[in-house]
Protein backbone atom coordinates (compact mmCIF):
# COMPACT_ATOMS: atom_id res chain seq x y z
CA UNK A 1 0.00 0.00 0.00
CA UNK A 2 1.31 3.36 -0.93
CA UNK A 3 -0.03 5.55 1.82
CA UNK A 4 3.09 6.22 3.84
CA UNK A 5 3.80 9.43 1.98
CA UNK A 6 0.71 11.08 3.42
CA UNK A 7 1.17 10.03 7.01
CA UNK A 8 2.48 13.18 8.55
CA UNK A 9 0.17 15.49 6.71
CA UNK A 10 -1.62 17.44 9.44
CA UNK A 11 -4.30 18.41 6.94
CA UNK A 12 -5.64 14.89 7.22
CA UNK A 13 -8.47 14.79 9.69
CA UNK A 14 -9.16 11.07 9.25
CA UNK A 15 -6.42 8.56 8.56
CA UNK A 16 -7.13 4.84 8.24
CA UNK A 17 -4.02 2.78 7.83
CA UNK A 18 -4.13 -0.91 6.95
CA UNK A 19 -7.34 -1.39 8.88
CA UNK A 20 -8.56 -4.95 9.17
CA UNK A 21 -11.65 -6.14 10.92
CA UNK A 22 -13.25 -9.52 11.45
CA UNK A 23 -16.64 -10.64 12.69
CA UNK A 24 -15.64 -14.03 14.02
CA UNK A 25 -14.10 -15.70 11.01
CA UNK A 26 -15.66 -13.29 8.58
CA UNK A 27 -13.10 -10.82 7.25
CA UNK A 28 -15.29 -7.77 6.85
CA UNK A 29 -12.64 -5.06 6.24
CA UNK A 30 -9.48 -5.89 4.35
CA UNK A 31 -6.54 -3.52 4.47
CA UNK A 32 -8.52 -0.33 4.34
CA UNK A 33 -6.42 2.77 3.69
CA UNK A 34 -8.18 6.07 3.61
CA UNK A 35 -7.05 9.63 4.17
CA UNK A 36 -9.54 12.44 4.41
CA UNK A 37 -8.34 16.04 4.35
CA UNK A 38 -10.05 18.89 6.15
CA UNK A 39 -12.91 20.15 4.04
CA UNK A 40 -12.91 17.12 1.77
CA UNK A 41 -16.17 15.47 0.73
CA UNK A 42 -15.99 11.73 0.27
CA UNK A 43 -18.75 9.50 -1.05
CA UNK A 44 -18.51 5.78 -0.39
CA UNK A 45 -20.60 3.42 -2.46
CA UNK A 46 -20.70 -0.26 -3.21
CA UNK A 47 -23.00 -3.27 -3.11
CA UNK A 48 -24.89 -4.30 0.00
CA UNK A 49 -22.71 -6.05 2.57
CA UNK A 50 -19.48 -4.68 1.11
CA UNK A 51 -18.51 -3.07 4.42
CA UNK A 52 -19.37 0.60 3.80
CA UNK A 53 -21.18 1.07 7.07
CA UNK A 54 -18.49 -0.80 8.91
CA UNK A 55 -15.82 1.54 7.58
CA UNK A 56 -17.48 4.71 8.75
CA UNK A 57 -18.58 3.17 12.03
CA UNK A 58 -14.94 2.32 12.71
CA UNK A 59 -14.08 5.99 12.35
CA UNK A 60 -16.06 6.97 15.46
CA UNK A 61 -15.42 3.58 17.08
CA UNK A 62 -18.98 2.34 17.08
CA UNK A 63 -17.20 -0.74 15.75
CA UNK A 64 -13.86 -2.03 16.96
CA UNK A 65 -11.17 -2.87 14.45
CA UNK A 66 -8.59 -5.55 15.13
CA UNK A 67 -5.64 -4.43 13.02
CA UNK A 68 -4.27 -1.17 11.74
CA UNK A 69 -4.54 2.41 12.86
CA UNK A 70 -7.36 4.91 12.76
CA UNK A 71 -6.33 8.47 13.54
CA UNK A 72 -9.08 11.05 13.84
CA UNK A 73 -8.21 14.68 14.46
CA UNK A 74 -4.75 13.53 15.51
CA UNK A 75 -6.06 11.02 18.02
CA UNK A 76 -5.29 7.33 17.82
CA UNK A 77 -7.56 5.72 20.40
CA UNK A 78 -5.79 2.44 21.13
CA UNK A 79 -7.13 1.03 24.39
CA UNK A 80 -7.93 4.30 26.09
CA UNK A 81 -11.71 4.60 26.42
CA UNK A 82 -11.48 8.27 27.34
CA UNK A 83 -9.99 8.98 23.93
CA UNK A 84 -13.00 7.38 22.25
CA UNK A 85 -15.21 10.04 23.81
CA UNK A 86 -12.79 12.70 22.69
CA UNK A 87 -13.00 11.45 19.11
CA UNK A 88 -16.77 11.18 19.16
CA UNK A 89 -17.07 14.75 20.37
CA UNK A 90 -15.50 15.91 17.12
CA UNK A 91 -17.26 13.50 14.79
CA UNK A 92 -20.94 13.88 13.93
CA UNK A 93 -22.95 10.98 12.62
CA UNK A 94 -26.27 10.62 10.83
CA UNK A 95 -27.91 7.24 10.56
CA UNK A 96 -30.19 5.63 8.06
CA UNK A 97 -32.99 5.48 10.61
CA UNK A 98 -32.32 8.91 12.13
CA UNK A 99 -32.15 7.54 15.68
CA UNK A 100 -33.65 10.62 17.27
CA UNK A 101 -34.54 10.22 20.93
CA UNK A 102 -38.32 9.74 20.93
CA UNK A 103 -38.84 10.76 24.56
CA UNK A 104 -37.28 14.19 24.07
CA UNK A 105 -38.56 17.17 22.15
CA UNK A 106 -36.70 18.21 19.03
CA UNK A 107 -35.05 21.02 20.95
CA UNK A 108 -33.99 18.70 23.76
CA UNK A 109 -32.62 16.24 21.21
CA UNK A 110 -30.41 19.01 19.89
CA UNK A 111 -29.24 20.42 23.20
CA UNK A 112 -28.52 17.09 24.90
CA UNK A 113 -24.95 16.58 23.73
CA UNK A 114 -23.85 20.23 23.93
CA UNK A 115 -25.12 20.43 27.52
CA UNK A 116 -23.79 17.09 28.77
CA UNK A 117 -20.72 16.56 26.64
CA UNK A 118 -19.56 20.12 26.11
CA UNK A 119 -20.92 21.45 29.44
CA UNK A 120 -22.61 24.29 27.63
CA UNK A 121 -25.15 26.41 29.55
CA UNK A 122 -28.70 25.41 28.61
CA UNK A 123 -29.58 28.82 27.25
CA UNK A 124 -26.61 28.97 24.93
CA UNK A 125 -27.24 25.41 23.76
CA UNK A 126 -30.82 26.33 22.93
CA UNK A 127 -29.76 29.36 20.96
CA UNK A 128 -27.35 27.26 18.93
CA UNK A 129 -29.99 24.59 18.46
CA UNK A 130 -32.47 27.13 17.10
CA UNK A 131 -29.82 28.44 14.74
CA UNK A 132 -29.28 25.00 13.25
CA UNK A 133 -33.00 24.22 13.16
CA UNK A 134 -33.36 27.33 11.04
CA UNK A 135 -30.50 26.16 8.89
CA UNK A 136 -32.36 22.90 8.18
CA UNK A 137 -35.57 24.92 7.83
CA UNK A 138 -37.72 23.48 10.63
CA UNK A 139 -37.46 25.92 13.56
CA UNK A 140 -41.24 25.75 14.02
CA UNK A 141 -41.00 22.08 15.05
CA UNK A 142 -38.69 22.75 18.00
CA UNK A 143 -41.18 21.77 20.68
CA UNK A 144 -42.63 18.73 19.00
CA UNK A 145 -41.56 15.15 19.53
CA UNK A 146 -39.76 13.14 16.83
CA UNK A 147 -42.80 10.87 16.43
CA UNK A 148 -44.78 13.86 15.19
CA UNK A 149 -42.42 14.62 12.30
CA UNK A 150 -42.11 13.14 8.82
CA UNK A 151 -39.08 11.06 7.91
CA UNK A 152 -37.48 13.86 5.95
CA UNK A 153 -37.98 16.28 8.81
CA UNK A 154 -36.56 13.78 11.28
CA UNK A 155 -33.44 13.29 9.21
CA UNK A 156 -32.95 17.04 8.97
CA UNK A 157 -33.31 17.25 12.74
CA UNK A 158 -30.71 14.49 13.04
CA UNK A 159 -28.33 16.50 10.88
CA UNK A 160 -28.95 19.61 12.95
CA UNK A 161 -28.39 17.58 16.10
CA UNK A 162 -24.94 16.56 14.91
CA UNK A 163 -24.11 20.10 13.83
CA UNK A 164 -24.89 21.44 17.30
CA UNK A 165 -21.69 19.76 18.50
CA UNK A 166 -19.75 21.76 15.93
CA UNK A 167 -18.09 18.62 14.56
CA UNK A 168 -14.92 18.56 12.53
CA UNK A 169 -16.16 15.66 10.40
CA UNK A 170 -19.64 14.48 9.56
CA UNK A 171 -20.37 10.83 8.82
CA UNK A 172 -23.52 9.88 6.93
CA UNK A 173 -24.67 6.28 6.65
CA UNK A 174 -27.23 6.12 3.85
CA UNK A 175 -29.16 9.11 5.21
CA UNK A 176 -31.82 9.01 2.49
CA UNK A 177 -32.37 5.32 1.91
CA UNK A 178 -35.11 4.96 4.52
CA UNK A 179 -37.03 7.94 3.14
CA UNK A 180 -40.00 8.12 0.83
CA UNK A 181 -38.87 9.43 -2.55
CA UNK A 182 -40.53 12.82 -2.16
CA UNK A 183 -38.54 13.49 1.01
CA UNK A 184 -35.12 12.62 -0.31
CA UNK A 185 -34.41 15.95 -1.94
CA UNK A 186 -35.17 18.01 1.17
CA UNK A 187 -32.48 16.07 3.00
CA UNK A 188 -30.02 16.14 0.10
CA UNK A 189 -30.49 19.91 -0.21
CA UNK A 190 -29.41 20.32 3.40
CA UNK A 191 -26.41 18.08 2.80
CA UNK A 192 -25.39 20.00 -0.31
CA UNK A 193 -25.57 23.25 1.63
CA UNK A 194 -23.46 21.72 4.34
CA UNK A 195 -20.88 20.61 1.79
CA UNK A 196 -20.81 24.01 0.20
CA UNK A 197 -20.25 25.50 3.63
CA UNK A 198 -16.95 23.63 3.82
CA UNK A 199 -17.87 20.76 6.15
CA UNK A 200 -15.68 17.66 5.97
CA UNK A 201 -18.05 14.87 5.04
CA UNK A 202 -17.86 11.14 4.56
CA UNK A 203 -21.10 9.87 3.08
CA UNK A 204 -22.20 6.36 2.37
CA UNK A 205 -24.88 6.90 -0.22
CA UNK A 206 -26.18 5.68 -3.52
CA UNK A 207 -27.42 9.11 -4.52
CA UNK A 208 -25.17 9.53 -7.53
CA UNK A 209 -26.49 12.99 -8.32
CA UNK A 210 -25.31 14.09 -4.90
CA UNK A 211 -21.93 12.42 -5.47
CA UNK A 212 -21.45 14.16 -8.81
CA UNK A 213 -22.42 17.48 -7.38
CA UNK A 214 -20.42 17.69 -4.16
CA UNK A 215 -17.94 14.82 -3.86
CA UNK A 216 -14.22 15.45 -4.16
CA UNK A 217 -13.65 11.72 -4.28
CA UNK A 218 -15.80 8.67 -4.75
CA UNK A 219 -14.73 5.43 -3.13
CA UNK A 220 -16.07 2.14 -4.38
CA UNK A 221 -16.02 -0.83 -2.01
CA UNK A 222 -16.68 -4.47 -2.60
CA UNK A 223 -16.23 -7.47 -0.32
CA UNK A 224 -14.50 -5.44 2.38
CA UNK A 225 -11.97 -3.80 0.09
CA UNK A 226 -11.58 -0.40 -1.47
CA UNK A 227 -11.64 -1.28 -5.15
CA UNK A 228 -11.53 2.12 -6.72
CA UNK A 229 -11.02 5.69 -5.58
CA UNK A 230 -11.26 8.65 -7.93
CA UNK A 231 -12.85 12.00 -8.66
CA UNK A 232 -16.54 11.77 -9.48
CA UNK A 233 -16.15 12.63 -13.15
CA UNK A 234 -13.50 9.99 -13.65
CA UNK A 235 -15.43 7.54 -11.52
CA UNK A 236 -18.68 7.77 -13.40
CA UNK A 237 -17.38 8.25 -16.92
CA UNK A 238 -14.32 6.14 -16.86
CA UNK A 239 -14.44 3.45 -14.15
CA UNK A 240 -11.36 1.28 -14.09
CA UNK A 241 -12.45 -2.00 -12.56
CA UNK A 242 -15.02 -4.39 -13.92
CA UNK A 243 -16.78 -4.58 -10.59
CA UNK A 244 -17.26 -0.83 -10.55
CA UNK A 245 -18.66 -0.90 -14.06
CA UNK A 246 -21.09 -3.65 -13.13
CA UNK A 247 -22.16 -1.79 -10.01
CA UNK A 248 -22.66 1.47 -11.86
CA UNK A 249 -24.69 -0.17 -14.58
CA UNK A 250 -26.96 -1.73 -11.96
CA UNK A 251 -27.42 1.54 -10.13
CA UNK A 252 -28.16 3.55 -13.21
CA UNK A 253 -30.64 1.05 -14.59
CA UNK A 254 -32.31 1.00 -11.23
Amino acid sequence: MNTTTRLDNSEDIVIMRNVNKWYGNFHVLKDINLNVKKGERIVICGPSGSGKSTVIRCINHLEEHQEGEIIVDGIEVGNDVKLIHQVRREVGMCFQHFNLFPHLTILDNLTLAPIWVRNMPKKEAEEIAMKYLERVRIPEQANKYPGQLSGGQQQRVAIARSLCMNPKVMLFDEPTSALDPEMISEVLDVMVELAEGGMTMICVTHEMGFAKRVADRVIFMDAGQIIEESEPEEFFNNPKSERTKLFLSQIIQH
Binding site: L62, F95, N99, Y145, G147
Partner: protein, 365 residues
Protein backbone atom coordinates in the same frame (compact mmCIF):
# COMPACT_ATOMS: atom_id res chain seq x y z
CA UNK B 1 -37.67 27.05 26.34
CA UNK B 2 -38.72 23.47 25.97
CA UNK B 3 -42.37 23.12 26.74
CA UNK B 4 -43.78 19.69 26.16
CA UNK B 5 -46.78 19.60 23.93
CA UNK B 6 -49.33 16.94 24.69
CA UNK B 7 -50.08 14.54 21.90
CA UNK B 8 -53.36 15.23 20.19
CA UNK B 9 -55.56 12.22 20.92
CA UNK B 10 -57.46 10.47 18.16
CA UNK B 11 -60.83 12.05 17.78
CA UNK B 12 -63.77 10.21 19.33
CA UNK B 13 -66.33 8.78 16.91
CA UNK B 14 -69.63 10.66 16.47
CA UNK B 15 -72.02 10.10 19.31
CA UNK B 16 -74.69 8.41 17.16
CA UNK B 17 -72.42 5.45 16.66
CA UNK B 18 -71.84 4.95 20.34
CA UNK B 19 -75.27 5.69 21.82
CA UNK B 20 -76.46 3.37 24.61
CA UNK B 21 -78.79 1.37 22.38
CA UNK B 22 -76.13 0.81 19.76
CA UNK B 23 -73.71 -0.14 22.50
CA UNK B 24 -76.12 -2.66 24.00
CA UNK B 25 -76.86 -4.19 20.65
CA UNK B 26 -73.24 -4.43 19.66
CA UNK B 27 -71.87 -5.71 22.94
CA UNK B 28 -74.57 -7.65 24.71
CA UNK B 29 -77.04 -8.90 22.12
CA UNK B 30 -74.97 -9.32 19.01
CA UNK B 31 -76.08 -12.91 18.39
CA UNK B 32 -78.14 -15.73 19.90
CA UNK B 33 -75.23 -17.08 21.96
CA UNK B 34 -74.30 -13.66 23.26
CA UNK B 35 -77.90 -12.91 24.09
CA UNK B 36 -78.16 -16.14 26.05
CA UNK B 37 -74.94 -15.41 27.93
CA UNK B 38 -76.10 -11.91 28.71
CA UNK B 39 -79.40 -13.16 30.12
CA UNK B 40 -77.66 -15.85 32.16
CA UNK B 41 -75.18 -13.33 33.53
CA UNK B 42 -77.93 -10.93 34.54
CA UNK B 43 -79.83 -13.76 36.23
CA UNK B 44 -76.74 -14.70 38.18
CA UNK B 45 -76.20 -11.10 39.26
CA UNK B 46 -79.86 -10.92 40.28
CA UNK B 47 -79.37 -13.95 42.51
CA UNK B 48 -76.19 -12.69 44.13
CA UNK B 49 -76.28 -8.95 44.43
CA UNK B 50 -79.49 -8.23 46.37
CA UNK B 51 -78.75 -10.58 49.29
CA UNK B 52 -75.15 -9.40 49.51
CA UNK B 53 -76.28 -5.81 49.42
CA UNK B 54 -78.84 -6.47 52.15
CA UNK B 55 -76.28 -8.21 54.31
CA UNK B 56 -73.65 -5.54 53.84
CA UNK B 57 -75.77 -2.43 54.09
CA UNK B 58 -79.51 -2.73 54.76
CA UNK B 59 -79.37 -5.26 57.59
CA UNK B 60 -75.94 -4.29 58.84
CA UNK B 61 -75.20 -2.89 62.26
CA UNK B 62 -73.08 0.19 62.44
CA UNK B 63 -73.60 1.55 65.92
CA UNK B 64 -72.62 0.22 69.29
CA UNK B 65 -69.57 -0.91 71.18
CA UNK B 66 -69.92 -4.66 71.78
CA UNK B 67 -71.10 -7.76 69.96
CA UNK B 68 -74.42 -7.45 71.73
CA UNK B 69 -75.13 -4.41 69.60
CA UNK B 70 -75.12 -6.64 66.54
CA UNK B 71 -78.38 -8.28 65.50
CA UNK B 72 -76.68 -10.91 63.36
CA UNK B 73 -79.18 -10.32 60.55
CA UNK B 74 -76.53 -8.52 58.60
CA UNK B 75 -72.89 -7.55 58.81
CA UNK B 76 -71.54 -6.44 62.15
CA UNK B 77 -69.52 -3.42 61.19
CA UNK B 78 -69.39 -2.47 64.86
CA UNK B 79 -66.53 -4.94 65.12
CA UNK B 80 -64.54 -3.17 62.42
CA UNK B 81 -65.30 0.27 63.78
CA UNK B 82 -64.32 -0.74 67.31
CA UNK B 83 -61.07 -2.21 66.13
CA UNK B 84 -60.37 0.26 63.35
CA UNK B 85 -57.55 2.08 65.11
CA UNK B 86 -55.82 -1.18 65.88
CA UNK B 87 -56.18 -2.32 62.28
CA UNK B 88 -54.46 0.88 61.23
CA UNK B 89 -51.66 1.12 63.78
CA UNK B 90 -51.30 -2.24 65.51
CA UNK B 91 -50.11 -1.78 69.08
CA UNK B 92 -48.49 1.56 68.41
CA UNK B 93 -49.06 3.69 71.55
CA UNK B 94 -52.21 5.72 71.11
CA UNK B 95 -50.77 9.02 72.27
CA UNK B 96 -47.94 8.74 69.72
CA UNK B 97 -50.02 7.86 66.69
CA UNK B 98 -49.65 11.39 65.41
CA UNK B 99 -46.09 10.41 64.49
CA UNK B 100 -46.93 7.78 61.85
CA UNK B 101 -49.72 10.10 60.71
CA UNK B 102 -47.24 12.91 60.27
CA UNK B 103 -44.83 10.62 58.44
CA UNK B 104 -47.61 9.59 56.06
CA UNK B 105 -48.85 13.13 55.46
CA UNK B 106 -45.29 14.32 54.89
CA UNK B 107 -44.70 11.61 52.30
CA UNK B 108 -47.90 12.47 50.45
CA UNK B 109 -47.06 16.18 50.53
CA UNK B 110 -43.59 15.49 49.18
CA UNK B 111 -44.81 13.18 46.45
CA UNK B 112 -47.66 15.33 45.12
CA UNK B 113 -45.39 17.98 43.55
CA UNK B 114 -43.58 15.20 41.67
CA UNK B 115 -46.75 14.53 39.77
CA UNK B 116 -47.64 18.11 39.00
CA UNK B 117 -46.51 19.75 35.82
CA UNK B 118 -44.06 22.61 35.82
CA UNK B 119 -42.70 22.16 39.31
CA UNK B 120 -39.02 23.09 39.31
CA UNK B 121 -36.30 21.02 40.99
CA UNK B 122 -38.20 17.75 40.72
CA UNK B 123 -34.90 15.89 40.62
CA UNK B 124 -33.82 17.34 43.96
CA UNK B 125 -37.21 16.61 45.44
CA UNK B 126 -36.98 12.99 44.32
CA UNK B 127 -33.51 12.77 45.81
CA UNK B 128 -34.82 14.27 49.06
CA UNK B 129 -37.57 11.66 49.19
CA UNK B 130 -35.12 8.86 48.52
CA UNK B 131 -32.34 9.94 50.87
CA UNK B 132 -33.61 12.35 53.52
CA UNK B 133 -37.21 11.31 53.98
CA UNK B 134 -36.35 7.76 55.16
CA UNK B 135 -34.28 9.27 57.98
CA UNK B 136 -37.14 11.55 59.01
CA UNK B 137 -39.58 8.65 58.77
CA UNK B 138 -37.29 6.49 60.86
CA UNK B 139 -37.16 9.00 63.70
CA UNK B 140 -40.87 9.68 63.51
CA UNK B 141 -41.89 6.04 63.54
CA UNK B 142 -39.19 4.53 65.67
CA UNK B 143 -37.89 7.46 67.66
CA UNK B 144 -34.42 7.72 69.14
CA UNK B 145 -32.08 10.67 69.60
CA UNK B 146 -34.26 12.11 72.34
CA UNK B 147 -37.56 11.22 70.71
CA UNK B 148 -39.50 8.62 72.63
CA UNK B 149 -38.77 5.19 71.17
CA UNK B 150 -41.45 2.82 69.96
CA UNK B 151 -40.19 -0.70 69.55
CA UNK B 152 -40.94 -2.18 66.14
CA UNK B 153 -42.71 -5.09 67.80
CA UNK B 154 -45.49 -2.60 68.56
CA UNK B 155 -45.85 -1.56 64.94
CA UNK B 156 -48.69 -3.16 63.11
CA UNK B 157 -51.77 -3.00 60.95
CA UNK B 158 -51.99 -1.05 57.74
CA UNK B 159 -49.11 1.11 58.91
CA UNK B 160 -46.79 -1.90 58.97
CA UNK B 161 -48.07 -3.11 55.62
CA UNK B 162 -47.31 0.30 54.15
CA UNK B 163 -43.89 0.52 55.77
CA UNK B 164 -42.95 -2.88 54.37
CA UNK B 165 -44.26 -2.26 50.86
CA UNK B 166 -43.12 1.32 50.44
CA UNK B 167 -39.66 0.45 51.68
CA UNK B 168 -39.61 -2.66 49.50
CA UNK B 169 -40.63 -0.72 46.41
CA UNK B 170 -38.40 2.30 46.93
CA UNK B 171 -35.28 0.36 47.90
CA UNK B 172 -35.77 -2.23 45.18
CA UNK B 173 -35.97 0.35 42.38
CA UNK B 174 -32.36 1.53 42.28
CA UNK B 175 -30.99 -1.94 43.06
CA UNK B 176 -33.18 -3.47 40.38
CA UNK B 177 -32.14 -0.91 37.77
CA UNK B 178 -28.47 -1.52 38.50
CA UNK B 179 -29.02 -5.28 38.30
CA UNK B 180 -30.80 -4.95 34.97
CA UNK B 181 -27.93 -2.89 33.57
CA UNK B 182 -25.48 -5.36 35.06
CA UNK B 183 -27.18 -8.26 33.40
CA UNK B 184 -26.66 -6.58 30.03
CA UNK B 185 -23.17 -5.34 30.80
CA UNK B 186 -20.33 -6.14 28.44
CA UNK B 187 -18.20 -7.13 31.42
CA UNK B 188 -18.57 -10.87 32.01
CA UNK B 189 -18.07 -10.76 35.78
CA UNK B 190 -20.68 -8.08 36.34
CA UNK B 191 -23.02 -9.91 34.02
CA UNK B 192 -22.52 -13.20 35.83
CA UNK B 193 -22.98 -11.70 39.29
CA UNK B 194 -26.18 -9.91 38.27
CA UNK B 195 -27.61 -12.96 36.57
CA UNK B 196 -26.87 -15.26 39.48
CA UNK B 197 -28.33 -12.78 41.95
CA UNK B 198 -31.52 -12.32 39.97
CA UNK B 199 -32.09 -16.00 39.33
CA UNK B 200 -31.33 -16.93 42.92
CA UNK B 201 -33.87 -14.54 44.39
CA UNK B 202 -36.47 -15.22 41.76
CA UNK B 203 -36.14 -18.92 42.35
CA UNK B 204 -37.19 -18.68 46.00
CA UNK B 205 -40.71 -17.86 47.24
CA UNK B 206 -40.94 -14.78 49.45
CA UNK B 207 -42.15 -16.90 52.32
CA UNK B 208 -38.87 -18.84 52.46
CA UNK B 209 -36.91 -15.62 52.34
CA UNK B 210 -38.87 -14.19 55.24
CA UNK B 211 -38.42 -17.41 57.10
CA UNK B 212 -34.71 -17.47 56.50
CA UNK B 213 -34.32 -13.84 57.50
CA UNK B 214 -36.10 -14.44 60.76
CA UNK B 215 -35.05 -17.95 61.73
CA UNK B 216 -31.82 -18.79 59.92
CA UNK B 217 -30.03 -15.45 59.85
CA UNK B 218 -29.75 -15.14 63.64
CA UNK B 219 -27.99 -18.52 63.70
CA UNK B 220 -25.20 -17.10 61.58
CA UNK B 221 -24.88 -13.83 63.45
CA UNK B 222 -22.33 -13.59 66.25
CA UNK B 223 -23.62 -14.06 69.76
CA UNK B 224 -25.28 -10.99 71.22
CA UNK B 225 -25.69 -9.32 67.89
CA UNK B 226 -29.34 -8.82 67.28
CA UNK B 227 -30.88 -7.20 64.25
CA UNK B 228 -34.43 -6.04 64.56
CA UNK B 229 -36.91 -8.55 63.18
CA UNK B 230 -38.75 -5.95 61.13
CA UNK B 231 -35.49 -4.61 59.70
CA UNK B 232 -34.53 -8.10 58.62
CA UNK B 233 -37.88 -8.59 56.92
CA UNK B 234 -37.56 -5.20 55.21
CA UNK B 235 -34.13 -6.00 53.84
CA UNK B 236 -35.27 -9.45 52.73
CA UNK B 237 -38.29 -7.99 50.94
CA UNK B 238 -36.24 -5.26 49.24
CA UNK B 239 -33.62 -7.70 47.98
CA UNK B 240 -36.31 -10.10 46.82
CA UNK B 241 -38.23 -7.35 45.08
CA UNK B 242 -35.12 -5.97 43.39
CA UNK B 243 -34.77 -9.16 41.36
CA UNK B 244 -38.28 -8.70 40.00
CA UNK B 245 -37.74 -5.03 39.28
CA UNK B 246 -34.54 -6.00 37.46
CA UNK B 247 -36.39 -8.37 35.18
CA UNK B 248 -39.09 -5.82 34.43
CA UNK B 249 -36.45 -3.21 33.61
CA UNK B 250 -34.48 -5.68 31.52
CA UNK B 251 -37.58 -6.24 29.41
CA UNK B 252 -37.75 -2.50 28.83
CA UNK B 253 -34.07 -2.27 27.99
CA UNK B 254 -34.39 -5.04 25.45
CA UNK B 255 -37.12 -3.18 23.64
CA UNK B 256 -34.93 -0.13 23.02
CA UNK B 257 -33.59 -0.22 19.45
CA UNK B 258 -29.84 -0.53 19.02
CA UNK B 259 -29.84 2.76 17.15
CA UNK B 260 -30.65 4.62 20.37
CA UNK B 261 -27.50 3.30 22.05
CA UNK B 262 -25.47 4.09 18.94
CA UNK B 263 -26.78 7.62 18.56
CA UNK B 264 -26.09 8.30 22.21
CA UNK B 265 -22.53 6.96 22.03
CA UNK B 266 -21.85 8.61 18.69
CA UNK B 267 -22.51 12.05 20.20
CA UNK B 268 -19.93 11.45 22.88
CA UNK B 269 -22.11 10.65 25.89
CA UNK B 270 -20.48 8.35 28.43
CA UNK B 271 -22.08 5.03 29.34
CA UNK B 272 -23.78 6.43 32.44
CA UNK B 273 -24.93 9.55 30.62
CA UNK B 274 -26.45 7.50 27.80
CA UNK B 275 -28.23 5.32 30.30
CA UNK B 276 -29.54 8.16 32.42
CA UNK B 277 -30.52 10.55 29.65
CA UNK B 278 -31.45 8.34 26.73
CA UNK B 279 -31.93 4.67 27.48
CA UNK B 280 -33.44 4.44 30.97
CA UNK B 281 -36.11 7.12 30.49
CA UNK B 282 -37.43 5.07 27.59
CA UNK B 283 -36.83 1.65 29.10
CA UNK B 284 -38.40 2.51 32.47
CA UNK B 285 -41.47 3.82 30.72
CA UNK B 286 -41.80 0.51 28.92
CA UNK B 287 -41.33 -1.42 32.13
CA UNK B 288 -43.98 0.46 34.11
CA UNK B 289 -46.72 -2.14 33.60
CA UNK B 290 -44.39 -4.97 34.58
CA UNK B 291 -43.06 -3.11 37.58
CA UNK B 292 -46.49 -2.10 38.84
CA UNK B 293 -47.53 -5.73 38.56
CA UNK B 294 -44.70 -6.78 40.81
CA UNK B 295 -45.46 -3.90 43.19
CA UNK B 296 -49.06 -5.00 43.47
CA UNK B 297 -47.93 -8.54 44.12
CA UNK B 298 -45.48 -7.33 46.73
CA UNK B 299 -48.14 -5.26 48.45
CA UNK B 300 -50.29 -8.32 48.86
CA UNK B 301 -47.37 -10.60 49.66
CA UNK B 302 -46.35 -8.48 52.63
CA UNK B 303 -49.17 -10.29 54.41
CA UNK B 304 -46.77 -13.25 54.58
CA UNK B 305 -44.89 -11.55 57.41
CA UNK B 306 -47.57 -13.16 59.50
CA UNK B 307 -45.43 -16.28 59.67
CA UNK B 308 -42.53 -14.48 61.31
CA UNK B 309 -44.76 -12.91 63.93
CA UNK B 310 -45.19 -9.42 62.54
CA UNK B 311 -48.66 -7.96 62.74
CA UNK B 312 -49.44 -6.47 59.37
CA UNK B 313 -52.98 -5.58 58.36
CA UNK B 314 -54.07 -9.14 57.64
CA UNK B 315 -52.54 -10.72 60.70
CA UNK B 316 -53.90 -8.11 63.04
CA UNK B 317 -57.37 -8.67 61.62
CA UNK B 318 -56.96 -12.40 62.08
CA UNK B 319 -55.89 -11.80 65.61
CA UNK B 320 -58.96 -9.70 66.23
CA UNK B 321 -61.11 -12.44 64.71
CA UNK B 322 -59.79 -14.76 67.38
CA UNK B 323 -60.69 -12.38 70.19
CA UNK B 324 -63.24 -14.21 72.39
CA UNK B 325 -65.28 -11.01 72.69
CA UNK B 326 -65.73 -10.86 68.96
CA UNK B 327 -65.89 -14.48 67.89
CA UNK B 328 -67.86 -15.19 64.74
CA UNK B 329 -67.16 -12.04 62.78
CA UNK B 330 -64.39 -13.38 60.54
CA UNK B 331 -66.32 -12.53 57.40
CA UNK B 332 -66.52 -8.87 58.28
CA UNK B 333 -62.83 -8.84 59.09
CA UNK B 334 -61.79 -10.47 55.85
CA UNK B 335 -64.09 -8.27 53.78
CA UNK B 336 -62.52 -5.23 55.38
CA UNK B 337 -59.02 -6.58 54.69
CA UNK B 338 -59.92 -7.32 51.09
CA UNK B 339 -61.39 -3.84 50.66
CA UNK B 340 -58.27 -2.12 51.97
CA UNK B 341 -55.94 -4.24 49.83
CA UNK B 342 -58.16 -3.68 46.82
CA UNK B 343 -58.20 0.10 47.25
CA UNK B 344 -54.41 0.24 47.23
CA UNK B 345 -53.88 -2.23 44.41
CA UNK B 346 -56.54 -0.67 42.23
CA UNK B 347 -55.02 2.74 42.90
CA UNK B 348 -51.60 1.53 41.82
CA UNK B 349 -52.97 -0.05 38.68
CA UNK B 350 -54.90 3.09 37.72
CA UNK B 351 -51.90 5.24 38.41
CA UNK B 352 -49.70 3.15 36.17
CA UNK B 353 -52.21 3.47 33.34
CA UNK B 354 -52.28 7.24 33.77
CA UNK B 355 -48.51 7.37 33.85
CA UNK B 356 -48.19 5.34 30.66
CA UNK B 357 -50.57 7.67 28.90
CA UNK B 358 -48.79 10.75 30.15
CA UNK B 359 -45.40 9.50 28.99
CA UNK B 360 -46.61 8.51 25.55
CA UNK B 361 -44.89 10.82 23.09
CA UNK B 362 -46.32 9.24 19.99
CA UNK B 363 -43.37 7.02 19.26
CA UNK B 364 -44.24 3.54 18.21
CA UNK B 365 -41.64 1.06 17.14
Amino acid sequence: MATSEQMIPDRAPPITQIGPIAWLRENLFSGPLNTLLTIAAFYFLYLVIPPVFEWMFLDANWQGTTRNDCTRDGACWVFIIQRFEQFMYGFYPEDLRWRPNLAGILLVLLIIPLFLKRVPYKGWLALFILLVYPVIAYFLLHGGAGIEEVDTSKWGGLMLTLVLSIFGIVAALPIGILLALGRRSSMPIIRAVSTVYIELWRGAPLITILFMSSVMLPLFLPEGMDIDKLARAMVGIALFQSAYVAEAVRGGLQAIPKGQYEAASAMGLTYWQSMRLVILPQALKLSIPGMVNTFIELFKDTSLVLIIGLFDLLSIIQQANADPNWLGFDTEGYIFAALVYWIFCFGMSRYSLALERKLDTGHRN
